[in-house]
């Protein structure tokens, strides 16, 4: 440790990038000359939305440019510049630096680890390539050491595991161990916790933090998640379209941002406390009235004068429930298992008309399975799903056209849910076609209406998904669900693939739509911070069981189950 302290005084910067310019081979500039400095033991977070150039900047630090990109200016120096400009080094010298002096942790550990190699062997390989130590025995020692450093079991049997025998968090820690094996001076971490659950994320973040501090590694942490930044970073640089628009200490940037973009970005981040207003429409909870449907399930727009039920004064919801003889949707004893593995283990809940309920669960909790059972995509469940008191058939093909119309499901990834070879109008028109609207002109009119509802408009009719951004695609997917005027919209993690600002606008849209159409909504997510922004009630799902169910306020302030308490404790906030 003593040597590192001296080093810290001697070298002011571990890596410094100046005036980095990167453009595509066709000439469009991606990075417009950005500069930053990494200091030993400190973590700089590079924050930005997708397409802002943050990963390009991170890779440029290692002298790597993705296919189709080229460097047009700037320099990167390591450790005060003994080796000169890293970007001018020949390829073979760069290769020894990468993984040795400067290492990279990619986003998805499941993709970056070799599934056919034992984890110990993979770490050993890195050491061998970089001639770390003199003998295999020494390297093996280092493997065990580095596994301990990232907080994993370093026994022989553990090293002989394959990546698929580890959980996502453990895999990512193995990825970090590989990057850290040769004792690099700089680590570039590219969204290392994006795919992880909050509980796992908390552990990984702690590991990174400790490594940086204890071993005086400089970290470049690329992320879009501002809440994570607050936990892990010392400094923050905010990127917008290839420029760093704001750079400063974490506290300064997060709590007194000076650039309007930073402020906008921060406003878009949902917070658990619900103090911030995400988007322009009021959050559903609290101020938002429960939509009171008129007779026959059609929202009575004439008398829709705000029945300002404050969700904090709970009896309002209860009162509505008493008025209604039957809820819109009732799920009773829903269970599903694959072989001996029980994915859903007896789910019971009900959903009132015009109500929005959030289904919260981590990956593997069965939340997607549950929502797909309701939508009829999984037909092998047992138990009952009742819509307005009538039990639904299990699969969509067995349900009547009317039942299919009333429950609509929006998929998680807008990049996969729209056929890339069909126009938006064609994709959105499919439900109409299947509901028997045979006339092409009628269909187009209704599609246009739905696209207007999601604020896309007619110009999108004849475009293909490839020409749309993620947010626009998700709007188109929502339009497909809305085109038949459903009574229940099931949203399965629909914002998890999107940037925070886009997420905010989608939440905005959903809240507006709900108050406009009076439909009920089941909002499935892993992000507990959204709770106060979208739902009146909150159901927490763990291992196929609902462990907590109540009004959002109740569950968040007074969680009954240990799991909910743990979740709430691990949410990164700022």
């Amino acid at each position: 440790m003593s040597t590192t302290v001296i080093e810290q005084h001697k070298t002011t910067s571990a890596l410094s990038a100046t005036g980095l310019r990167v453009s595509t081979v066709t000439g469009a500039e991606i990075l417009h000359g950005i500069s930053f400095t990494l200091q030993p033991g400190r973590i700089l977070a590079l924050v930005g939305e997708s397409g802002s150039g943050k990963t390009t900047a991170g890779l440029a630090c290692m002298g790597h440019f993705r296919q189709g990109l080229e460097l047009t200016g700037g320099s990167v120096t390591l450790n005060g510049g003994e080796q000169g400009n890293l970007l001018e080094l020949p390829e073979h010298q760069l290769r020894t630096l990468r993984g040795g002096e400067i290492s990279y942790v990619p986003q998805d550990p499941a993709l970056s680890l070799n599934p056919a190699m034992r984890i110990g062997e993979q770490i050993l390989e890195t050491l061998r390539v970089h001639h770390f130590g003199d003998a295999t025995a020494e390297r093996l020692e280092r493997v065990a050491e580095v596994l301990a450093e990232v907080g994993l079991d370093n026994s022989r049997s553990y090293q002989r595991r394959y990546p698929h025998q580890l959980s996502g968090g453990q895999q990512q820690r193995v990825g970090i161990a590989m990057a850290f094996a040769c004792r690099p001076a700089v680590m570039v971490l590219d969204e290392p916790t994006t795919g992880l659950d909050v509980t796992t994320q908390a552990v990984v973040l702690e590991t990174i933090d400790q490594l940086a501090e204890r071993h005086q590694v400089a970290g470049l942490y690329i992320t879009h998640d501002l809440a994570v930044v607050a936990t892990v970073a010392d400094e923050v640089a905010v990127m917008l379209a290839g420029d760093i628009v704001e750079h400063g200490s974490t506290d300064q940037v997060l709590f007194s941002p000076s650039h309007p973009y930073t402020r906008r970005l921060l406003r878009a981040v949902p917070d658990l406390a619900g103090k911030r207003r995400v988007g322009e429409v009021e959050a559903i909870t609290g101020e938002h009235p429960l939509v009171v449907p008129g007779p026959l399930g059609i929202p009575d727009t004439t008398t829709a004068t705000p029945r300002a039920d404050d969700a904090k004064l709970l009896p309002a919801t209860v009162a509505v429930r008493e008025q209604e003889s039957a809820p819109l949707l009732q799920v009773r004893g829903l269970a599903l298992s694959y072989g001996g593995h029980k994915v859903l283990n007896g789910i019971d809940f009900e959903l009132m008309e015009g109500e929005s309920i959030m289904l919260l669960g981590e990956s593997g909790s069965g939340k997607t399975t549950l929502s797909r059972c309701m939508a009829g995509l999984n037909d092998n469940y047992t138990g009952a799903v009742e819509l307005s008191g009538a039990e639904l058939a299990t699969g969509t093909r067995k349900r009547s056209a009317g039942d299919r119309r009333r429950i609509q499901y929006v998929f998680q990834s807008p990049f996969s849910s729209l056929n890339p070879r069909r126009t938006i109008a064609e994709s959105v028109g499919v439900p109409l076609q299947m509901a028997g609207v045979g006339n092409r002109r009628d269909r187009r009119a209704k599609v246009l209406e739905a696209l207007d509802q999601v604020r896309l408009g007619g110009s999108y009719m004849d475009r293909r998904p490839g020409e749309l951004s993620g947010g626009e695609r998700q709007r188109a997917a929502i339009a497909r669900a809305l085109v038949n005027a459903p009574s229940l919209l099931v949203c399965d993690e629909i914002t998890s693939a999107l940037d925070v600002s886009v997420q905010a606008s989608i939440l905005d849209l959903l809240r507006t739509l709900q108050s406009e159409t009076g439909m009920s909504m089941l909002f499935v997510t892993h992000n507990i911070a959204l709770a106060r922004h979208i739902s009146q009630r909150l159901a927490v799902l763990q291992k196929g069981r609902i462990v907590d169910l109540g009004t959002t306020e109740d569950v968040l302030t007074n969680p009954q189950h240990g799991y909910t308490q743990e979740l709430l404790a691990n949410v990164p906030t700022f």
Binding site: E49, G51, G68, R264, R404, S417, N419, S469, R480, S501
Partner: protein, 295 residues
């Protein structure tokens, strides 16, 4: 829509990569391949129309004694004009090859998509049946069928088409398997779109890349098969003019009067090389967005 989304909109409009065919045609070898293919196709398609006028003879007319250097390329084994027979002999070969390829594609694609989409037992059944067909060498199967059914045009087309089908089915099945996991397929299922319609409107447009490659490849093979079967005497029957048949008829006098062999061999070779170059560049273009970019 919030203002914060504005920067994203511009990112979405970054110049999109050129389409598949544009990427293909940007490659040098594709241009060469296209030129070669078009050359041979022009000879084969226009040849029969030009016939008596340009050479003075029809393809079956006797002009003199065998293997004599009469006319531009001499006479063949029965004393017919080689050039006339060459001009007349390509059309059938190409039409038969094209029909066989199309038949094979239609059957193979239908079977492959059905297998991948149905999964489970039906998939196993179809693909194992496929394996049985694959175990028979293509040419041997064709020989067998033609010996039994006689050397008729439709038999040729059907037999070659059928022997192609299992190979095409394999490619189609794997291409389909990667598409059917996408959510848009599940979305269609959710709206209870009939299964055949899902295959035709959702799956098929998304697997055209690999299918086009397969089409080109099978076309090349078909040309080879039709020519070989004619050479063996099981394809086109005399006195019909045909490139494969010409090679067989004239090979005995290769030293005395080589043109009767060289012309058809050259045409078949150039056509095969041309279509192969095209297929290759198409495969490269469908696998790589940057294909054909100058380094």
């Amino acid at each position: 829509m919030s203002i914060a989304e504005a920067p994203l909109e511009t990112v979405g409009k970054v110049k999109r990569p050129p389409r598949l065919f544009a990427r293909m045609m940007r490659q040098r070898q594709a241009q060469l391949g296209l030129a070669l293919t078009v050359l041979v196709l022009a000879v084969a398609l226009l040849g029969p129309l030009l016939l008596p006028w340009i050479t003075g003879f029809t393809s079956t007319e006797f002009t003199g004694r065998p293997f004599k250097p009469v006319g531009m390329f001499g006479t063949d084994n029965l004393g017919r004009d080689v050039l006339s027979r060459f001009l007349d002999g390509g059309l059938r070969l190409i039409v038969y090859a094209a029909l066989a390829t199309l038949l094979g594609m239609a059957a193979g694609v239908a079977v492959g998509m059905t297998a991948a989409y149905s999964a489970g037992r039906l998939d196993g059944l179809i693909m194992r049946g496929n394996d049985v067909l694959l175990a028979l060498p293509q040419l041997v199967f064709a020989l067998l069928a033609i010996t039994v059914l006689g050397p008729k045009g439709w038999v040729l087309v059907v037999v070659i088409g059928i022997t192609h089908a299992p190979r095409i089915a394999r490619v189609t099945r794997s291409a389909t398997a990667s598409v059917i996991t996408e959510d848009y397929i599940r979305a269609s299922e959710m709206y209870a779109v009939p299964k055949w319609k899902i295959l035709v409107t959702e799956v098929l447009p998304n697997i055209t890349g690999p299918l086009m490659v397969e089409l080109g490849l099978r076309m090349t093979y078909s040309i080879g098969f039709v020519a070989s079967l004619s050479f063996l005497g099981l394809g086109m029957q005399p006195p019909t003019a045909d490139w494969g048949l010409m090679i067989n008829e004239n090979r005995i006098a290769l030293v005395v009067q080589p043109w009767g062999v060289i012309l058809p061999v050259l045409a078949i070779a150039v056509l095969t090389v041309g279509t192969n170059l095209l297929t290759d560049s198409l495969a490269r273009a469908s696998a790589n967005l940057n294909a054909g970019n100058q380094p």
